[in-house]
């Protein structure tokens, strides 16, 4: 009982702690902190907009790639693959979720980023270069690479929860569709439609992970505080600026501002995760009642 309460205490303490430690920056910049893109430690001018932008865009790229793939994986695991294949691939994907992010980042630096610079991005530029998103010099390190590495990292999360949600849909639903002459895909589509709030929950949970991911992003996003249309350009995310600058911050205001960035990050992930848990909970509870 006491220990159970201590966990609540810890979370409250985290919030309190970060709130107090960021007071200096909050008092000086107010809400302007969120809307300013200045980040100049020397002049003690701080604003988090570029980092918020970097986090949001890289996470959205990740979702756009990971969501369709994850749904495909989940459908494969729960509806297509036999038991042996399903469990072994499910296991591989679970391991994918457990690999430390530093290794993803490391791999990103030495394999993914060079590949992006030399093959993938020039390819995109050749064929889709008329879209501003794909213009400019292909650096390799940048928004797009960060998004792709995040996509690899969140696919296991989204797909394993989606698989569980699909498995919670009663067989009678599938039978009903088949009995009306549905093809396998049509029956699956019906199950997916049923599971949509659970899938949404899984997606949001994946988003939460992408937003908070630090090391892998720090290692491939390029770490340049700028807002550019092109996805080839380097950018910066909330978590990476903390990782890079915190240990060698140049003074109280700098630290305080970094902690405020952390506070924003905390707030965002808190909301995202609560939402996700709520969505997943509402689906699995329904399944429990049946």
């Amino acid at each position: 009982m006491f220990f159970a309460l201590s966990i609540i205490f810890v979370v409250l303490l985290i919030i309190y702690e970060m709130f107090i430690d960021s007071s200096q920056s909050r008092e000086k910049f107010g809400f302007g902190f969120i809307f300013s893109s200045d980040w100049e430690p020397v002049k003690e001018e701080f604003g988090a907009l570029t980092f918020i932008y970097g986090t949001v865009v890289s996470s959205l790229i990740a979702l756009a790639i990971a969501l369709p793939i994850s749904i495909g994986v989940a459908v494969f695991l729960s509806e297509i693959a036999g038991k042996t294949v399903g469990t072994s691939i499910g296991f591989l994907i679970e391991i994918l979720a457990a690999i430390p992010s530093i290794i993803y980042g490391f791999w990103g630096i030495f394999v993914l980023a060079p590949y992006m610079r030399e093959s993938f991005q020039p390819f995109l530029q050749n064929y889709l270069g008329f879209i501003p998103l794909f213009q400019g010099t292909p650096f390799g390190f940048g928004m797009m690479t960060a998004g792709i590495i995040l996509a690899i990292m969140i696919t296991p999360i989204i797909s394993s929860i989606t698989r569980d949600v699909l498995k919670a849909i009663p067989v009678s639903q599938r039978e009903a569709a088949y009995a009306l002459g549905a093809t396998k895909w049509e029956a699956i589509k019906m199950a997916l439609l049923n599971a949509k709030s659970g899938i949404l929950g899984a997606t949001v949970l994946g988003l939460g992970r992408a937003v908070g991911e630090t090391m892998a992003v720090t290692m491939v996003i390029g770490n340049r505080a700028q807002i550019k249309t092109s996805l080839f350009e380097p950018a910066y995310s909330m978590a990476s600026v903390i990782a890079n600058e915190f240990a060698e911050a140049s003074g109280q205001m700098h630290i305080s501002s970094l902690i405020e960035v952390g506070l924003i990050l905390f707030g965002v992930t808190f909301i995202i995760n609560s939402l996700a848990r709520f969505l997943i909970f509402s689906v699995t509870r329904k399944a429990d009642m049946k």
Binding site: I7, I14, F91, I99
Partner: protein, 290 residues
């Protein structure tokens, strides 16, 4: 009219079947796409890591750049100490919280605790790092192993709690009732009967938490920091494998990169082995119900 309908039906059926085949194939392709990065990362890390993995890696201290050889023994010992420190309070709190949530499930308080645990597991690890920084590094005015261990401990709690809870729920209710009916108090029943029955499951949870903590980098960057020398004192900065990998990875030296790959291979092997153990243990025990 009827004949036309039939014809239309036939054509339509062919179209539906083609769509069916296409969509099902796409799902299989998605599953392949999700597994490929894993296999790629795993073998790439193994290939790059194994060549520079030798006896020295586990026994020698890092050498400054320019000198050949050297290892990561300080980081390996550092990681063990940090995990030990974290486990010292993270594991008991995690288990006790799990007991609380499972044995008192249904009450408002246990739902709140469950929710908070979920939230805690979603907080980005870098934010936990800031928390440990504010709580321990600032008052001590120094980076320390203590702060790093503390951060890892907090990160372990949600994993341990969740698995403890799940494992306890698998213990049949009749077992509890049987014990209670013998006049054994509720607390003793939980401790002696329920917990013992679920012990192997809980151990797997602890293993998973350790594997996860072993790979955490972000919260250590500005808590335990890093150290190129041998140090076991808890109030001093301490090296750890992931931070060492990070520092080597972003350095420009090939020799260091090779060291980092070796470290990465060690980490990935730990993750792989732990997950394999967990899989085998849980399958043997709960094959019927899982």
């Amino acid at each position: 009219m009827r004949k036309e309908d039939l014809l239309f039906d036939k054509k339509n059926l062919r179209k539906r079947k083609i769509i069916n085949t296409i969509m099902l194939s796409l799902c299989i392709i998605a599953a392949a796409m999700a597994v490929v990065p894993l296999i790629y990362i795993f073998f790439y890390t193994a290939g790059a890591g194994l060549t520079s993995l030798n006896f020295d890696f586990f026994t020698a201290l890092p050498k400054p750049f320019g000198e050949d050889g050297g290892g990561m023994v300080n980081a390996i010992v550092g990681t063990v100490i940090l995990i030990g420190l974290g486990g010292l309070f993270g594991i008991p709190i995690g288990i006790l919280t799990g007991i609380y949530v499972s044995e008192y499930s249904g009450s408002l308080m246990s739902n709140v605790v469950k929710f908070i645990t979920d939230v805690l597991s979603g907080i980005p690890s870098i934010v936990i790092g800031i928390f440990a920084y504010g709580l321990i590094v600032l008052p001590m005015q120094r980076f320390s192993a203590l702060a790093g261990g503390f951060a890892l401990g907090i990160l372990m709690i949600p994993t341990v709690t969740r698995i403890t809870e799940e494992m306890l729920k698998l213990v049949p209710q009749t077992l509890r009732e049987a014990s209670l009916a013998l006049g054994i108090s509720r607390w003793k029943t939980t401790l002696r009967i329920t917990l013992r029955t679920a012990s192997s499951g809980i151990i797997t949870g602890v293993l998973l938490a350790i594997a996860r903590a072993a790979g955490e980098t972000a919260p250590l960057l500005f808590t335990s920091f890093g150290n190129s020398f041998w140090s076991t004192s808890l109030d001093q900065p301490m090296a750890s494998i992931p931070v060492q990998i990070f520092n080597y990875a972003i350095s420009p030296y090939d020799e260091w990169h090779r060291k980092a790959w070796a470290g990465a291979f060690v980490l990935i092997s730990i993750v792989f082995i732990v997950n394999l153990i967990v899989r085998v243990v849980t399958r043997n025990k709960y094959s019927g119900s899982v």
